[in-house]
C-alpha cells in the first residue's frame, strides 16, 4: 500500500477545510429551509433533516409573502442590465481593441476608476441623480445604475478578448468591403461565445445580488427585488427561520447554477494554460 505522505495528508485535510469553510453556510440554509419549524428550534442541530418538509416554500409563494413578485422584479432588472451591458461593452471593447484613438488608455483608465469606486461613496451621488430624474421607486432606476458597474468590467474583459483575435481575419473581410460593424457581427461575435457568456453571467449575478441601491431606491412593497425583500423580512416580522432560509436559498441557487459550471470551465482552462507554460 502506498504510504501517504504528510504533504498529501495535509492537502486532503486542507481540501476538507476549504469545502466546509466555503460551503457550510450555504448548505446550512439549504437544509434548514426543508426542516419543519419544530426541528429548527430544537435543542440538537440536525445535519440532515429528520423530517423534510416543503411548507416553508409553500408559504413563500402562497400566503402573505408573494415571493414570485420579487423574483419577477429581479428578473426584469437583470434582463435589462444584461442587454445594456452586452451591447455597450461589446461595442466599447471592440472599439478599444481595434481602433487607434487618442487618449485610448486614458479612457480605459476612466472605466477602471468607475469599476473600483466603492458603492458606499456612490450612494449619495446616485441618489441625487435618480431623484432629479424622478425615477425613484422604479425598476428603471436600477437598470440605469447597475450598468455603471457592469460595463467597465465587461468592457475590460471583452477588450482583452478581442485583442487576441488575429487581425488577418478581419482585414480580409475589410478588403471585401464589409464595414467594421459587419465584421463584429458576422465574424468576431460568433467566435466569442464563451467570453460573452461570462459577461452575461457577470451582469446577471451582479444585478440579482445587489442590495444597497435596490434597498435605497425601491420604496414600494411590490417593486422590491429579491435581496431587499429578504432583508426586510429579517427586521419586520418575527423571525421565521424556515421561511427566511427558504427565501435565501432561492436567492442563492440560480447564482450557483449559472456560476459554478462556468467557473469550473475557466479554472480548467487556467490549469491548461499554466501547464503549457511550466
Amino acid at each position: 500500500m502506498k504510504k501517504l505522505s504528510t504533504r498529501r495528508l495535509l492537502t486532503i485535510i486542507g481540501i476538507v477545510f476549504i469545502a466546509i469553510y466555503s460551503l457550510f453556510p450555504v448548505y446550512w440554509i439549504g437544509i434548514t429551509s426543508f426542516k419543519p419549524a419544530r426541528e429548527i428550534a430544537g435543542f440538537t442541530p440536525t445535519f440532515i433533516p429528520m423530517q423534510a418538509t416543503l411548507t416553508h416554500y409553500v408559504n413563500l409563494f402562497g400566503g402573505e409573502y408573494y415571493f414570485q413578485q420579487y423574483i419577477v422584479n429581479s428578473i426584469i432588472v437583470a434582463v435589462g442590465v444584461v442587454l445594456i451591458t452586452l451591447i455597450f461593452s461589446t461595442l466599447a471593447g471592440y472599439g478599444l481593441a481595434r481602433f487607434k484613438l487618442r487618449g485610448k488608455n486614458r479612457l480605459s483608465d476612466l472605466l477602471l476608476f468607475a469599476y473600483v469606486t466603492p458603492p458606499g461613496v456612490l450612494l449619495v451621488p446616485f441618489f441625487l441623480m435618480i431623484s432629479w430624474l424622478n425615477i425613484l421607486n422604479t425598476l428603471g432606476s436600477l437598470i440605469l445604475v447597475y450598468p455603471a458597474f457592469t460595463i467597465p468590467f465587461a468592457t475590460w474583459l471583452l477588450r482583452s478578448h478581442f485583442e487576441q483575435f488575429p487581425p488577418e481575419l478581419e482585414e480580409a473581410a475589410m478588403v471585401d468591403g464589409v464595414g467594421r460593424l459587419g465584421i463584429l457581427r458576422r465574424i468576431v461575435l460568433p467566435l466569442s461565445g464563451p467570453c460573452l457568456a461570462v459577461v452575461v453571467a457577470y451582469s446577471l449575478i451582479s444585478s440579482w445580488t445587489e442590495y444597497m441601491f435596490a434597498f435605497t431606491f425601491m420604496r414600494s412593497e411590490t417593486l422590491k427585488t429579491v435581496p431587499v425583500a429578504l432583508a426586510h423580512s429579517i427586521t419586520v416580522y418575527h423571525v421565521d427561520w424556515g421561511l427566511l432560509t427558504a427565501g435565501a436559498f432561492i436567492a442563492v441557487i440560480p447564482v450557483l447554477i449559472i456560476f459554478l459550471p462556468m467557473a469550473r470551465q475557466m479554472m480548467k482552462g487556467w490549469e491548461i494554460g499554466a501547464a503549457l507554460k511550466g
Binding site: 450612494l123 442590495y211 435565501a248
Partner: protein
Amino acid sequence: MKTKRRPRPSLLPLFFVGPAIAWVACLMFFPLTWTVWVSFTKTVMTEKSTELVGPFIGLSNYYELIFNDPNFPIILWNSLTWTLGNIALSGAIGLAIALILNEKFRGQSMMRALMLTPWVIPSVATTISWRFMLNSEVGVIQKIMLALGLAPEPMAFFGHDYGMFTVIFLNAWRFTPFVALSYISGLESIPKDLYEAAEVDGASSFQRFRSITLPYLKPTFAVIGLIGVLLTYGYFDVVWLTTKGGPGTATMIPPVYVWLSAFYEFSLSKAASISVIMATILLAFTFLCRKFLFK
C-alpha cells in the same frame, strides 16, 4: 465630387466607444461633482424630490463633522479596524486556501470553483445564513460551542463586545475567495524549477516557502492590499444587514453612517460630506500605494 486633401477623421470609433463612456461618465462624474457641491450646502431630504439643493454654507458641514460630531472619530477608527481586520483575516485564510489549491489533485478545478462561493452568493443570503448560525437561540455554532464546552451561555456575537470581530469575520469570509484567487494566480506564475532546484539543494518546505514563494508573491500582496481596501472600506451590505452599525456605534463604519445621515437624519448634506471624506481618504490611499509600490 469634392475631394479633400486629408481624409476626415472617422466618427466610427466614437460610435463604438462613445456610448459606454458616456453612460459611465454621466452616471459617475456629474453626480460626484454634484455631491461635492451638496456637501457645501445645507440640504435636507424633503417630500418633494425636486427641491434638491439647499443654501450654500461653505465648509460648515465638514467643521461640524470633524470637530463637533462625537460619532465621527469613533467611525474613523472603526473604518480602520474594519479595513485592516478584513484584509489581514482574508489575506491569511486566502493564502492558506491558495496554497492548498495549488497542489495538483483530481477535482482541483472543481474545488477552485466551489471555493468562490462566498464571494458570489448574495450578501443577503450570506448575512441570513451567518445570523442564523450565530443566533443565540437556534444557532448551530452556538450549540456546537456549548457542546464543546467553549461557551456555557449563548454568546452575543453581534453585541457590543464582539460585534466588530463578528462583522469583520463575516466580511472576511465573503472576501476570502477573491484573495485566494489572486494568490492562486500569483502562485501559478512562479517557475516550478525553482522549487525543484531548491529541493535538490536540500531546502525544507518552510525554507522554500520563505525564500521562493513569499518574494514572488510580493506584487500579489500589493494588489490584494490595494484592491482589498477599495472593496472593503466602503462596503455597506454586511454591517447594515447584521448590526446596522450598532449597538450604538460599536460597528459603525462610514458607508452605514452615510446612509443613516441621509435617510434617518434626513440630512443629504451631511451624508454628502461624509462621502467626500471617504472618497478623499481612498484617493489619498490609492495615490500613496501607487507611489510607494510602483503600481
